[in-house]
């Protein structure tokens, strides 16, 4: 991570929720406590920042908003971990990765499920699905 993205400070009018990821993100399993910032630079963007040094952070966006044909339904074990009650739903975020020359890709193969009711989140792997790790993000999506 870069110095610029470390230790992001919350703006006064910015919404920040505490999020617990019991297993962390893949590759960051020790990072279980995060803040989720909403509205940084854009109302469409979210930033998930670890509270554990060096406080890595990821840019997220709502998968269903930008990929209308995207499908992701939490299974029973995911619902249990997220403490989702019957009929309640969770937000499905995907992680954005900057590429060269202002291009971005989105990881649709491993979305982050977030239950605001419990403050819990988890990254799941959709192995074998048609959704890719590096799906191009364009204004037309």
């Amino acid at each position: 991570m870069t110095d610029e993205t470390s230790r992001l400070k919350k703006f006064d009018d910015e919404k920040a929720d505490l999020v617990n990821l019991p297993y962390g993100l893949i590759g960051f399993e020790g990072h279980t406590e995060h803040t989720l910032l909403t509205g940084r630079t854009s109302p469409h963007l979210f930033i998930l920042q670890s509270m554990i040094r060096p406080q890595p952070a990821w840019i997220l966006l709502d998968a269903f908003q930008w990929f209308p044909d995207y499908r992701c339904t939490p299974g029973s074990s995911e619902r249990a971990l997220l403490s989702l009650e019957d009929n309640s739903s969770c937000q499905v975020f995907c992680i954005v990765t900057p590429r060269k020359q202002g291009e971005f890709t989105v990881n649709l193969a491993a979305p982050v499920l977030y239950a605001s009711t419990s403050g819990r989140a988890m990254q799941i792997i959709r192995e074998g699905s048609r959704f890719q790790i590096r799906s191009p993000l364009s204004p037309c999506v």
């Binding site: 960051f28 109302p43 990821w58 971005f104 993000l137 204004p139």
Partner: protein, 82 residues
């Protein structure tokens, strides 16, 4: 690393609730059967490692990237930073 030799039909136990069985050996490929609780997530190692790399790459961004992304996503995105 623990190394064990198993034949087709034989297996190993990992803890009390995960059983891995060798189903078939064909050439250089081994087919495994895995019995585990539903909450235990099982993935091909190369898929998991690729996702690790992707998450590491995604953690490297700048405020310039964030602004470019906001611009890309369109109306209501840019110029609203406090």
């Amino acid at each position: 690393m623990l190394v064990l030799t198993r034949k087709t039909g034989e297996g190993i136990l990992i803890g009390p609730d995960i059983r891995v069985t060798v189903m078939e050996v064909r050439g250089s490929s081994v087919r495994l059967g895995i019995d585990a609780p539903r909450e235990k997530k099982i993935h091909r190692s190369e898929v998991y490692e690729r996702l690790e790399q992707e998450n590491f790459a995604a953690a490297h961004w700048t405020t310039g990237d964030l602004e470019a992304l906001a611009h890309l996503l369109g109306p209501g995105a840019s110029g609203e930073e406090s």
